[in-house]
Symmetry: C2
């Protein structure tokens, strides 16, 4: 799977994930806090952008963070160590085939993972036995189809469409946020609750203009430009106009909207 990660593993991408995590921390993670002593599995920790938040929000939980990429794990280990947290254990593993005993965890947490999997429901099904009865699962995902903005631009919309297309080609689904309810219920969890987390950005919110519209979302789109143009999904001229139009929404009369979805369920 790791070879298909649509955003690649560059340093700029690592920075983008970091900016994203810092800007959105409260919105996405503020209500995820695990009790002292509880055993938490972070499935697909990547470079640890969310791991440090988990570790900070639940300082007395025992967190196990797994990822299939050794390089990502190394970055995550360093990030968590640099942040001074000692409540995380890192282990390499494929979330479709983890070596833990049934009922090993009280809580499972996934963030921006399901979107990259060809079989997200299968992943949720494989994780379920690892939870104790009554344990919870939390999954957070974006949905690029939730994006709209002012001024509107067909070029910008098409550029985002390229990102969706590329992620689909890589076996993922950039529109997965809206599907969390049927996915998590379909995988056998009960009491499923989905809470949308909308990021609304206008010029009265300069931190989000910079931190979300520019450094997170538009930078992410910009990052797949060579791929999109190289594969002929858009002409270079149209692509550049699309990216410019996205940056334009960060202007003083611009508005940018995006929605993340947070699902919780119980075994």
């Amino acid at each position: 799977m790791s070879g298909n990660y649509v955003h690649g593993y560059t340093e700029r991408e690592a920075e983008r994930l970091h900016d994203q995590a810092e800007t959105l921390t409260g919105l996405l993670h503020g209500d995820t806090r695990y009790p002292a002593g509880s055993r938490v599995l972070e499935a697909g920790c990547g470079t640890g952008a969310q791991t440090v938040i988990l570790a900070r929000n639940s300082p007395d939980a025992r967190i196990t963070s797994v990822d299939i990429s050794e390089a990502s794990l190394e970055a995550a280990r360093k990030r968590v160590r640099d942040a001074g947290f000692k409540n995380v254990t890192f282990e390499a593993g494929d979330i479709f085939d983890l070596p833990y005993e049934p009922g090993s965890f009280d809580h499972i947490f996934l963030c921006f993972v399901l979107e990259h999997l060809a079989d997200p429901r299968g992943a949720l099904e494989r994780l379920r036995p690892l939870l104790r009865e009554g344990g919870t699962i939390t999954a957070i995902e974006g949905d690029h189809g939730s994006t709209y903005f002012h001024p509107d631009s067909p070029y910008a919309r098409r550029a985002i469409g390229c990102l969706v297309d590329l992620q689909r080609e890589a076996g993922g689904n950039a529109l997965i946020g809206r599907e969390l309810y049927p996915l998590v219920t379909g995988a056998g969890y009960r009491d499923v609750h989905v809470s949308p987390r909308m990021v609304y950005v206008d010029s009265s919110r300069p931190d989000l203009v910079r931190g979300f519209t520019r450094l997170t979302f538009t930078a992410m789109v910009e990052g797949v430009g060579e791929d999109a143009v190289g594969r002929g999904l858009m002409s270079r001229e149209d692509w550049e106009r699309g990216v410019a139009d996205l940056y334009r929404t960060a202007g003083s009369d611009g508005v940018f909207c995006y929605t993340f979805f947070k699902a919780t369920g119980r075994k």
Copy 2:
């Protein structure tokens, strides 16, 4: 303007507006409460769907509700009378040319009005002198471009696009929600704050499945079918598939998302 009201003035439309108002009352109006004795102008009250909510939430405010359509005013009068409220005065008038003295109102309220105007910023500018210094304006609008759903369907998306096209032809803007911040600031109000109100519907929320996905949104789209097909915007077959696909999102594994925007500003 009244002749251009895209949804028409049928009884079914009046029912739809009523269902809409009942389902969304808390989400859209819960935080709008005007103090005893304050003078409130509701600009563009239509058939009074929001007027009864205003009157209930602010029982001791003195509400003046105006509309350009005498027929709508008559329906609004009856609705407010039937609901037992006595704190509303109805007056016919064009919101671009109201006969009130400067500073006549402490608060102005508009809901689902700007979307139908060719010059929404002009309307906001014309209303501003009617506010006392420090008085507030509140504007609530939808944005049909904020709609997405599962299962996704290009036919359903196109059917919604027809509604947007028809409203544009009628001089309005069905994508106005996202523009409220630049519109209200551009019209000279200060301390403008826009709060998105997302309606997220999955099968764990049966009241919204029925009250919003089916009876409000899809019924609204369905209501312009003859117009859309008659003008050749879509073939009848594609249209019917689009509407069926929208109803499909009300199924047990379906999800439907829509966002309203509520702007407040101060003179």
